[in-house]
């Protein structure tokens, strides 16, 4: 099939790409745009390692065609850090609380947690666990991931209050 011209915004940058209709978003991100933060884990929309943010929603980029994202705004884990390379609070807290071991699930986990905290800035432990139930981690047993997200929420809320 002929390739299609698609235009989208990725990490706040306008991107034009040529994609076969059957190209999945994860392959566009990793192979065409060089964004290897989103990982391919199960490739069956279960594990969440490929999670990115699209138009304000967490999505599994292995289960969306690149063509469907024409006109969309995407944020990958690469887009969370500041322009000077300073870590996002979630990234800092994952480091601080040892929220990863092998690290394979981490980009999807952090990108999902980013959206979760946008929607619910003060989640309970139960809400965090429910909110990340589409992301599998086979190392940590989730304890430290939950702690890291909770700590990030506290830090972000503290910063918000200090600003007011």
């Amino acid at each position: 099939m002929a390739k299609m011209q698609i235009t989208l915004k990725v990490n706040n940058r306008e991107v034009e790409a040529l994609a076969e209709p059957r190209m999945l978003l994860i392959h566009l991100l990793r192979e065409e745009l060089g964004l290897t933060g989103p990982h391919i884990g199960c490739d069956t929309s279960h594990c969440g390692a490929c999670t990115v943010d699209m138009n304000g929603k967490s999505i599994k980029s292995c289960t969306v065609f690149a063509a469907q994202t024409n006109g969309a705004e995407i944020i990958t884990v690469e887009g969370l850090a500041g322009p000077d390379g300073s870590l996002h609070v979630l990234q800092e807290m994952f480091r601080e609380h040892h929220g990863l071991q092998c690290g394979y699930c981490t980009p999807g986990m952090i990108t999902r947690a980013y959206r979760l905290l946008q929607e619910n800035p003060n989640p309970s432990e139960t809400e965090i666990r429910f909110g990340i139930s589409g992301n599998l981690c086979r190392c940590t047993g989730y304890q430290n991931i939950v702690k890291a997200i909770r700590a990030a929420a506290d830090t972000m809320n503290g910063a918000r209050e200090a600003a007011e």
């Binding site: 069956t44 929309s45 999505i59 289960t63 469907q68 999902r112 979760l116 139930s133 589409g134």
Partner: protein, 287 residues
């Protein structure tokens, strides 16, 4: 996993989408949220030559009401159902069910229409629609028609939807004020289909049950309306003997196959437990 090649279409109107379906005959599929179809395409169990993406068709979205009826566009996502104040007030079983479908990422994409039209007996919403006696509105080249949810499901991936037709909206008869509801689902893990699940909607008046509808998920090739089980509740005060009898009758129509979720006897057992729990919770919520 890479799907077989296809041509991608993204029409802006329902009329254009129906035109594309007519033009491409048997080699075309519509994609809504894509979380059933795209995995099937990656496994090459589905190989459409043309894919018609419905995401830009605004007339297929939205939650509204008409006198006596709730109207939901087929492209409304599970996430939007969960967030709807109108549904929380008028038909809360939809929120309760949506929260038990798949996981957060899938619920942002997955649509009510896709869940209903796919014809997969593992999908959760069909049994809820059967319990609520919902009517599906579909449109095709020769116009619009209504199909009751109770007549829609014919077999595994087989429905009353004809080639070239698109499910456009659901029309839910407004449940009575003070009705009780519950959707109880047993699953092995997040994202799994039900071992068995039950939807119950009932009304109570002066301590007696005045109406009840029970429907079952994933214990047959189609969702099942447990009519005989519902009748075991009506006229009773939904006490233990009535609940036990309703659960027993629901189990009698369950006809699951053995799979990774368990052998046949176990899944029938679970169906009984789900019916029982759903009735108890629906009764507690009824006023």
């Amino acid at each position: 996993m890479i799907p077989a090649p296809f041509a991608y279409h993204r029409p802006r109107s329902l009329q254009d989408a129906i035109g594309l379906l007519a033009e491409h005959g048997e080699n075309v599929r519509v994609v809504a949220g894509g979380h059933s179809l795209i995995p099937m395409m990656k496994l090459r169990l589905a190989k459409p030559e043309h894919l018609v993406d419905l995401q830009d068709i605004t007339e297929l979205r939205g939650i509204g009401s008409e006198p006596g009826t709730l109207v939901i566009g087929a492209m409304t996502t599970q996430y939007e159902l969960i967030g709807s104040e109108l549904l929380a007030a008028k038909c809360p079983i939809l929120r309760e069910t949506s929260l038990q479908i798949a996981d957060p990422q899938v619920r942002y994409c997955g649509t009510l229409g896709g869940n209903l039209a796919n014809g997969d007996p593992g999908n959760d919403m069909p049994a809820v629609m059967v319990a609520l006696d919902v009517v599906y509105r579909v449109r095709g080249p020769s116009g619009e028609r209504d199909i009751p949810a109770r007549d829609f499901y014919k077999g595994i991936y087989s429905t009353a939807l004809a080639d070239g037709e698109i499910l456009t909206s659901l029309r839910i008869p407004l449940p009575a004020e003070g009705h009780g509801w519950a959707y109880e689902k047993q699953k092995r893990k997040v994202g799994d289909y039900a071992t068995a699940a039950a939807a119950v909607v009932l009304t109570m008046s002066g301590g007696a049950c005045t109406s009840a509808a029970i429907a079952l998920t994933n214990v047959a090739d189609t969702p099942l309306l447990a009519q005989h089980a519902s009748e075991a509740l009506v006229g009773t005060n939904v006490d233990e003997p009535a609940i036990a009898e309703a659960a027993r009758r629901a189990q009698q129509i369950a006809n699951p196959s053995a799979d990774g979720r368990g052998p046949v006897d176990f899944r029938i057992h679970v169906a009984g437990v789900m019916v029982r729990r759903a009735i108890v919770r629906a009764k507690q919520r009824a006023s």
